[in-house]
């Protein structure tokens, strides 16, 4: 007598098995349905804007401006991804340092950044701190602002990952004679990475989207470019829909990349 019956036939396209993974094509089918549903809803809402007259022509005329803004944001985000990862790693290990001033500085940095808004940080750094330091390049300023902001969050993600690797692993690494640096390189980080990757991908996506804040400090990135186009053409949705799509094109590959990476680091414990 079978007690657990798995969904069969048509039901198998709609219900997950009680045990084991969902077949790839079944889930792909459901993803397509969900995308269609959301698209349908959006279309319904926008066609409901009866008084809104769609006019793509003026916006199309500014397509180069769109592209330049998009590329500027891609550049800002790429540089910030690298720099914030470095800063995040330093923030994570500094909070485990035996030298207490280093540990205290790490903690103060993380808490300060996490408890103030990015907008305020951008204004204070760009108009207050950077001029004093003689830093005038808007691009570099933007990268620094984003990296310092994201670095604090990435640091906490990394710290959680590093602390999640058990003491028995540290002990094993010490016992085979690794130095602290070798232990991080060969034992802690490879194991921490598989726990870090999913939240890290989220932080990266946030960083890309948060770069839109830089529009307030006169860096002609994607959002500012599109805002300018909007006021030049008196259009609204024709500018904002491509804006949303433009950010999606940057963040979605990161999600895909993170999922692949997660697969690669998968091993049983």
């Amino acid at each position: 007598m079978t007690i657990v019956t798995e969904p069969r036939g048509l039901r198998a396209w709609w219900f997950a098995p009680r045990r084991g993974p969902v077949p790839g094509r079944v889930f792909a089918f459901q993803i397509v349905l969900a995308v269609l549903l959301v698209t349908g809803l959006l279309v319904a809402v926008f066609t409901g804007l009866a008084h809104y007259r769609w006019n793509w022509e003026p916006v199309w005329g500014y397509r180069e401006k769109f592209a330049r803004g998009w590329l500027m944001t891609v550049g800002l985000a790429s540089a910030s991804l690298v720099l914030s990862t470095g800063i995040g790693f330093l923030a994570a290990v500094s909070q485990r340092a035996r030298l207490l001033p280093v540990r205290a500085l790490g903690t103060v940095y993380v808490e300060l950044v996490r408890s103030t808004p990015l907008l305020v940080q951008s204004l204070v750094l760009y108009f207050g701190v950077f001029p004093v330091l003689g830093l005038s390049s808007p691009f570099l300023s933007g990268v620094l602002i984003l990296s310092l902001f994201a670095g604090a969050y990435i640091g906490e993600v990394m710290r959680a990952g590093i602390e999640g690797v058990g003491t028995s692993q540290r002990e094993a690494a010490a016992a085979v004679g690794f130095t602290t640096a070798q232990m991080y390189r060969h034992v802690i980080l490879p194991q921490a990475l598989r726990h870090i990757v999913p939240p890290l991908a989220g932080q990266f996506a946030s960083l890309i989207k948060d770069s839109s804040i830089l529009s307030v400090i006169a860096i002609r990135e994607f959002t500012l470019s599109v805002t300018e186009v909007r006021s030049l053409t008196y259009s609204a949705f024709e500018a904002y829909l491509p804006l949303a799509l433009g950010y999606f094109l940057m963040t979605f590959p990161i999600s895909l990349w993170a999922r692949r990476l997660e697969q690669r680091f998968r091993y049983e414990t």
């Binding site: 028995s168 690794f178 060969h186 091993y267 049983e268």
Partner: protein, 242 residues
């Protein structure tokens, strides 16, 4: 090999784990036995260079162990440690668990390390499992890989911390056989264990540790066959009852 400890003291918080442990023994295989919580593992971890004592002195082969980071790192690289919970690196295959320290710590080339790993794995009957990760191995196989890793760099001393306490009787047998073989081949061993029968077989000196002190220290089988102290007699009677 001469092993000495003088007045070793170690506390964790308000718990005194070693309260002035002293011994001086000439042994190729030293067994440390005693009730749980008696300080055996802490003593072994100090001998392995994994723990700093609060005070006291350790001498291994007439050489005083300096308790500072650099000296302890050198010391750890000269001894092989095997843990109760195996402590293999779960993200690496059995073979890579062995080759990684050989390459990174002991400076062997990738080829040399590979050859050395294949050699010890074959010797311990693990050749077929070289490409597997720890999660794909049985407990006994994991512990044998851990032992292979510990002997692969030819340490001057092998330290075992209750190597069979996490294993069922059959796997315990396979690991003890292996330690017995290493002993016959002349490996120098310090062994913390609850396997009294095995300790009696292999050890040429035994320490009985209880309540943070060395209660009894005797060569050969003397400690097991004719214990002098009441505590040791009681302990052996308890553990050998079944």
């Amino acid at each position: 090999m001469r092993l000495e400890a003088r007045d070793l003291v170690k506390s964790f918080g308000s718990t005194r784990v070693l309260a002035g442990v002293s011994f001086a023994v000439d042994a190729e295989c030293l067994a440390i036995v005693g009730p749980s919580g008696g300080g055996k593992s802490t003593l072994l971890r100090i001998l392995a260079g994994l723990e700093y004592p609060d005070s006291g002195e350790v001498r291994i082969a007439e050489e005083r162990l300096a308790f500072n980071d650099a000296a302890l790192l050198r010391h750890r690289r000269s001894v092989g440690m095997v843990f109760q919970a195996f402590n293999l690196f779960p993200h690496l295959t059995a073979r890579r668990n062995i080759t990684l320290p050989l390459e990174v710590v002991h400076g062997l080339s990738a080829d040399e390390a590979h050859l050395r790993a294949e050699e010890v794995l074959a010797r311990f009957d693990l050749a077929a499992h070289a490409g597997r990760r720890p999660a794909e191995l049985s407990g006994g196989q994991r512990q044998r890989v851990a032992i292979a890793r510990a002997v692969s760099f030819r340490p001057r001393l092998l330290l075992f911390d209750e190597p069979t306490s996490a294993l069922d009787p059959e796997m315990t047998g396979e690991v003890l056989d292996l330690i017995g073989e290493l002993r016959k081949e002349g490996a120098r061993i310090v062994l913390v264990t609850h396997e009294i029968g095995f300790a009696r077989e292999v050890a040429d000196h035994a320490l009985f540790l209880a309540e943070a002190r060395v209660v009894e220290s005797a060569p050969g089988r003397q400690l097991f066959d004719a214990p002098v102290s009441g505590e040791c007699r009681k302990f052996l009677k308890r553990v050998l009852r079944y």
